[in-house]
């Protein structure tokens, strides 16, 4: 074994902090990925799935009314909400499911918070005739009951996780435990750019289709690159996908929007980069919300998809190097943006994506009219309507 080259590091972040039992599984995955990522047949199949099944490329939409209303920079929306299953999650899942299939795996397991990644994984499993088990915090199964039904409808088993805080981080822990007990036929289809190497790289590569398309589309529409790309960050997969092909372009500001919950000066927050510190958890070194003894903190956000105490290692490094900026957005700001986009553009964004919209609403008015901002709308907001109604005091249930 070669320890001289640090595997899967982004600056000081990343690595493979997992039980010995899983090491050969991640090594096997890395080898398979290194082979298939350059395999023309694999790439042809994936691109067919992206285009014919998921509906790519997703639109880059000029938000004319929002631009006029805010009175500053030109705003484009990258419409990942148009994808099959309603969010960016399908990009990663189709890639990993295809890879798992090539590796001879017959069973997918996954964690899910809001249920988007779980639904996407269940979808890919149905499409590719694979068995599927999704781990979901018991709290989240209640908050997102409709998604639980969707996964079952798609033929998956949903396991409610009762341990710890019964949310996303516990679902990740339980999926890891399950993988430790059954490796030979099972691929862990991790949903974000986190966990042990090679997951942060694999997931980023499959999501990088977002920034690849933005580049082409903005060149077609404007003949130049944008001045800023804005996306929400939980684990950070839609954000890294939106940033990736712009990292080398210093002129493009990269802005990640973290869920501040009730505010970064409260304990009810999930803004990891703004409030966390360096740690080792879920297979990676990165920033985590934790107490002085390294116990992982319970986090809070109105958005189940951003309700995670860590952040992907590549984001941690983009923060360290200053290449990307990470800003906190509160529940209240996100809900206002959710309502604003619905009324202004007729687009109901996922509450996760509304965090990115909210920051753009602060940023755009202060920028010159010839500046261009791209916001990634990572998913559609139908799933959130009941919860937002309740936040506003209307007792609606799905």
């Amino acid at each position: 074994m070669d320890r001289s080259k640090k595997r899967g590091r982004f600056g000081i972040h990343g690595g493979q902090y997992i039980p010995e039992t899983l090491m050969n599984a991640v090594i096997e995955l890395e080898k398979a990925y290194d082979h298939y990522k350059n395999d023309p047949e694999f790439n042809r199949e994936l691109s067919t799935l992206f285009n014919e099944y998921a509906g790519r490329p997703s639109r880059l939409y000029f938000a004319k009314r929002m631009t006029e209303d805010l009175g500053g920079a030109k705003i484009y929306l990258k419409r990942e909400d148009f994808n099959h299953t309603g969010a960016h999650k399908i990009n990663n899942v189709l890639g990993q499911a295809l890879l798992a299939k090539k590796m001879g795996k017959t069973r997918l397991i996954a964690e899910t918070g809001a249920g988007q990644h779980g639904v996407a994984t269940a979808t890919a499993a149905a499409l590719m005739d694979m068995e599927c088990v999704v781990f979901m915090g018991e709290e989240d199964t209640k908050r997102q009951a409709l998604n639980v039904y969707r996964m079952k409808l798609l033929g998956s088993e949903v396991v409610p996780v009762k341990t710890g805080t019964a949310t996303l981080k516990d679902a990740v822990s339980e999926a890891m435990r399950e993988w430790t007990s059954r490796i030979a036929d099972t691929h862990y289809c991790l949903g974000s750019v986190m966990g042990p190497h090679p997951f942060p790289t694999i997931v980023r590569d499959f999501q990088a289709v977002i920034s690849k398309e933005i580049r082409t589309q903005i060149m077609e529409k404007e003949g130049r690159l944008p001045d800023a790309v804005i996306a929400c960050v939980g684990g950070g997969s839609n954000a890294i996908g939106s940033f990736y092909h712009f990292i080398e372009d210093e002129g493009v500001a990269l802005i990640g929007c973290e869920a501040a919950g009730r505010g970064i000066d409260t304990f009810e927050t999930a803004a990891t980069i703004n409030t966390g510190r360096l740690g080792i958890f879920h297979g990676m070194k990165s920033y985590f919300c934790q107490d002085e003894y390294g116990q992982i903190a319970p986090v809070y956000s109105i958005s189940a998809g951003l309700d995670y105490p860590g952040v992907g290692p590549e984001h941690a490094n983009l923060h360290d190097t200053g290449r990307a900026e990470y800003v906190p957005v509160t529940d209240e700001e996100a809900v206002e943006a959710f309502e604003y986009l619905a009324k202004t553009e007729g687009i109901i964004p996922a509450i996760e994506s509304a965090h990115a919209i909210a920051h753009a609403m602060k940023l755009a008015p202060g920028l010159d009219r010839n500046k261009i901002i791209v916001i990634t709308v990572s998913g559609r907001g139908d799933k959130d309507c009941a919860a937002i109604a309740r936040y506003r005091g209307e007792e609606i249930y799905e």
């Binding site: 493979q16 902090y17 039980p19 039992t21 090491m23 822990s173 435990r177 430790t180 080792i280 390294g294």
Partner: protein, 255 residues
């Protein structure tokens, strides 16, 4: 040879595990002393972690009970200082990488040295990531104990060559917890280890009774038991030391 290595010279070792602070630190201390008195050879002290990803339900729940009782790493250091007044049995901390890293690895280890902790087990620290903990451990003569799993094919020689103290052989796939049947070919694993190192090896995960422990100790140099003990503590709470002592005695006699 370290104090841990010495243990295996004359005996098949029995290594019980306990989660510190479950249900409280006073009970942990009494249990540790009972274990030492009833034949334990090395004791694994678990420092609880909020999200113990290598543990089954029994130890997960013990971790949460301990943390909700207000246990911290510093309070566990005090517990060890207290225990050390009454026994010199080799002690090993078992916890997760973040508990050590977040405390400050060098600070954590130098306190371990001061209070007489002989070794450290971090189940989420594989061979590839070992260095940043191994180097400061080595400096202070604290054994960083390596694990080998049934899935370690092709890795055993490398891990064994660098092992210190004893090698922790994980008996089965999955997380910690009691199993009625252990199906891994442990004989073959141990033989492969022996080819590469003289370091003793002890088998853990899934062992819960004297018969299993005896069988594991025949294959290897010792047996590690965690969940079965933690379960006794969950059942009897502050009254558990007596039962833990009896259990330890029954295992040691079977080895």
């Amino acid at each position: 040879m370290s104090r841990i290595g010495e243990v295996f010279k004359n005996t098949k070792a029995f290594i019980p595990f306990i989660t510190c602070g479950d249900p409280d630190l006073a009970t942990t201390k009494k249990c540790v002393l009972e274990m030492a008195e009833n034949g334990a050879d090395i004791i694994e002290l678990g420092i609880p972690f909020s999200d113990p990803t290598a543990e089954g339900p029994v130890i997960q729940e013990a971790n949460l009970r301990a943390l909700s009782g207000g246990v911290t790493t510093d309070k566990i250091f005090d517990l060890v200082r207290d225990i050390r007044k009454e026994t010199d049995i080799p002690l090993v901390f078992m916890t997760y990488a973040n508990v050590v890293f977040s405390y400050g690895t060098e600070k954590f280890l130098s306190i371990c040295k001061d209070i007489g902790v002989d070794g450290l087990i971090l189940p989420d620290l594989p061979f590839e990531e070992k260095e940043e903990f191994y180097i400061p451990c080595k400096k202070l003569n604290i054994d960083l104990i390596s694990l080998i799993a049934p899935t370690s094919e092709g890795r055993i020689a490398d891990i064994a060559r660098e092992a210190e103290g004893f090698l922790y052989i994980v008996s089965s796939l999955g997380v910690t917890g009691m199993r009625s049947n252990i199906s891994t070919d442990l004989d073959a694993m141990v033989k492969l280890v022996r080819k590469n190192t003289d370091i003793p090896c002890a088998i853990g995960f899934g062992i819960s009774n004297p018969q299993q422990a005896s069988k594991m100790a025949q294959i290897s140099d010792g047996a590690i038991i965690g969940s079965a003990i933690v379960k006794i503590i969950a059942e009897h709470g502050t009254a558990s030391p007596k039962y833990v002592g009896e259990f330890v005695k029954s295992i040691k006699e079977a080895l």
